[in-house]
């Protein structure tokens, strides 16, 4: 190990974390060339391919490496939070209709195809421009862009470095949620922990909200797959000793490393555009289902975060400013108040951090803090993490109707397949509260508000 591995967790969490072999994975990451300070893991750490999920690792730009396994298959999987002018009692009577309208407007499920069909030329524009492409084409407004991490577009994305296969997989998937743990949820603000921060973010009790959780779809999966092959060869070429083949990587300053970074950025932009299109269709569905004007509904973007990404950022390392490549795999950027990367309107409270939970319980809005800047390269947790495998969840759901159980709690769920609902049943996930409380305790982010679900669409 070149540096120590550091896991943020309470004593109670450690047993489950140990059982998962995730600490070994955090230790494996600590072997990689050019890693700076620590191999970090957030409280939602669990087993992943090579790097643990919930892992954060920063690498020196000259000596360090970049690894597709440190980002994950679903490049720029992320979360957007939108807040409306509506209060919970205005939406509850129409929640069934609203969920149905969302299900019709936003394609979900396996290999789901949106109304958008891109040719190679247009798809490459998406890869270069991200969410701005969507806004230029009538999906949402300029003001959305201000409230997206990186303003919805990372620079230096080179579409010549992505395969034809990736383009083909992405072609019909812009504006689609996909399957698995991805979802679109209508909820409301159920608790406020930090009045000032909530006020600055424009959140108030009972306010109706929307969370969109999805990523770069098949396009990003293919980019990761393609570059894992490239990196497998690069490991031999550059003679990088690895404790696990899935940590395959290349020096940041090698052609392979630079090419992956540029291709990954294309997928990052695809995901930004994807969520922007979905946000626009969400607004349309609200208008249709509630029969009210967009201005009355007022569904604005509060913020959008990426939680599977590698970025070049400047951090203070041993009292000196240093540019590093931060890998966040199932971890969220959590920059403190005052950071220039945060929208001006939020700069006094810190960057919003959006932590989705499961279908039945709650999600959280946090803000970044100085502790994250000092200790975790400005990073915090990203979600609850699964407590059950999918097979086990299906067994647990046998003989039950999860949709009816949720309906009895006032939560309307619609999905492309019943199996998805079974696999995603609330108890299949850990309680996200313990994850966010641990982050607050560790000082790497602060709780602002809790959101509870009213309705949800899934793949």
């Amino acid at each position: 190990m070149r540096v120590p591995a550091r896991i943020y967790a309470t004593q109670d969490m450690m047993e489950a974390i140990r059982n998962d072999n995730a600490p070994q994975q955090a230790m494996n990451v600590a072997h990689l060339p050019g890693i700076v300070k620590y191999s970090l893991a957030m409280p939602d750490i669990h087993w992943g391919y090579g790097f643990p999920i919930g892992g954060v690792a920063a690498f020196d730009l000259d000596e360090g490496v970049i690894s597709p396994g440190g980002v994950g298959y679903d490049i720029n999987c992320g979360v957007r939070l939108m807040a409306s002018k509506l209060k919970r009692p205005e939406v509850i009577p129409r929640i069934e209709k609203l969920v149905q309208a969302l299900f019709q407007s936003v394609p979900t499920g396996v290999g789901s195809r949106g109304d958008l069909r891109l040719n190679d030329q247009v798809e490459k524009q998406v890869l270069g421009n991200g969410a701005a492409w969507a806004v230029e084409h009538g999906y949402g407004t300029e003001s959305d862009l201000e409230y997206i991490e990186e303003n919805g577009c990372v620079q230096a994305a080179d579409s010549n470095l992505v395969s034809q296969k990736a383009l083909e997989r992405g072609r019909s998937q812009l504006g689609t949620l996909g399957s698995g743990n991805h979802f679109l949820e209508v909820g409301y603000v159920a608790e406020i922990y930090d009045k000032k921060a909530a006020q600055v973010l424009g959140l108030e009790m009972d306010q109706v909200t929307v969370i969109i959780h999805c990523g770069s779809r098949g396009f990003g999966h293919q980019v990761c797959d393609d570059y894992l092959r490239v990196m497998n060869c690069a490991v031999e070429k550059y003679n990088i000793g690895l404790p696990d083949r899935q940590l395959c990587c290349a020096p940041l300053n090698s052609p392979e490393g630079r090419h992956y970074l540029s291709a990954m950025r294309c997928a990052v932009n695809f995901a930004f555009a994807n969520r922007q299109v979905i946000a626009s269709w969400t607004r349309d569905a609200f208008e249709k289902a509630l029969g009210r004007e967009a201005s009355e509904i007022g569904l604005r973007t509060v913020y959008e975060v990426a939680h599977n990404i590698a970025k070049i950022e400047e951090h203070i390392v041993d009292s000196h400013k240093m540019k590093v490549c931060v890998h966040r795999k199932g971890a969220t950027r959590a920059f403190a108040a005052g950071s220039q990367e945060i929208p001006a309107a939020y700069r006094e409270v810190g960057q919003p951090v959006l932590i989705p939970g499961d279908m039945g319980r709650y999600s959280y809005v946090l803000v970044g803090s100085e502790g994250a800047m000092l200790n975790t390269f400005g990073s915090t947790c990203h979600g609850a993490g699964r407590a059950m495998s999918r097979v086990k969840a299906r067994k647990s759901a046998r003989g039950r109707s999860i949709a009816s159980e949720l309906r009895a709690q006032g939560i309307v769920v619609q999905a492309s397949s019943r199996r998805t609902i079974d696999e995603e049943l609330p108890e299949a996930y850990k309680d996200v509260t313990s994850v966010v409380d641990t982050c607050q305790l560790a000082g790497i982010s602060k709780k602002v508000a809790q959101l509870r679900p009213l309705g949800c669409i899934k793949g």
Binding site: D20, H46, W47, Y49, Y73, D74, G109, V110, G111, K165, E168, R169, R171, G178, S179, G180, N181, G218, H221, Q222, C224, D225, L228, R245, Q246, R386, S389, R390, V391, K392, S416, S417, R419, T420, E423, G459
Partner: protein
């Protein structure tokens, strides 16, 4: 279940799913792996045969070839939207293979799609010979 009658078994794996695959020959192993992949995606008994495709692949070694074979099938499902249920491997050596695959265009009225396979991974991947038969393991990212 004996190895002779069992083509594959689904195995639990954290957030994802894996397959343990059996075959009397390497060709059969590859065929059964393909069937296993599509059984994760849909109910194969509902799939008819109306489309045939021919595939030729090359790779670095047999294990990588198995990953490439399954990745290619998943790619064809996701992009051409064809559900495959019959697989005939014609040629197979350590680094290349050819096969015919049959299936039908995806039809949501008959095919319930269970899950999306994001990728076929190299994690815990193996192919081994057990006396006269073969066994393999593959984990899929869902």
């Amino acid at each position: 279940m004996s190895i002779k009658t069992c083509k594959f078994q689904q195995i639990e794996h954290t957030a994802d799913v894996g397959l343990k695959i059996f075959g009397a020959s390497q060709k059969e192993l590859f065929q059964n792996a393909a069937e296993g992949l599509f059984s994760i995606i849909t109910n194969l008994s509902k799939v008819r045969n109306s489309v045939t495709r021919e595939l030729s692949l090359t790779s670095t070694d047999t294990e990588a070839l198995l990953v490439d074979w399954l990745s290619e099938l998943n790619f064809l499902f996701l992009t051409d939207r064809i559900v495959f249920n019959e697989f005939k491997v014609h040629e197979l050596n350590d680094t290349s293979m050819s096969a015919s695959i049959c299936g039908e265009p995806l039809n949501f009225s008959r095919h319930e799609i269970y899950t999306e396979v994001k990728a076929v991974t190299y994690h815990a991947l193996y192919i081994k010979r057990i006396q006269t038969t073969f066994e393999a393991q593959v984990i899929f990212d869902l």
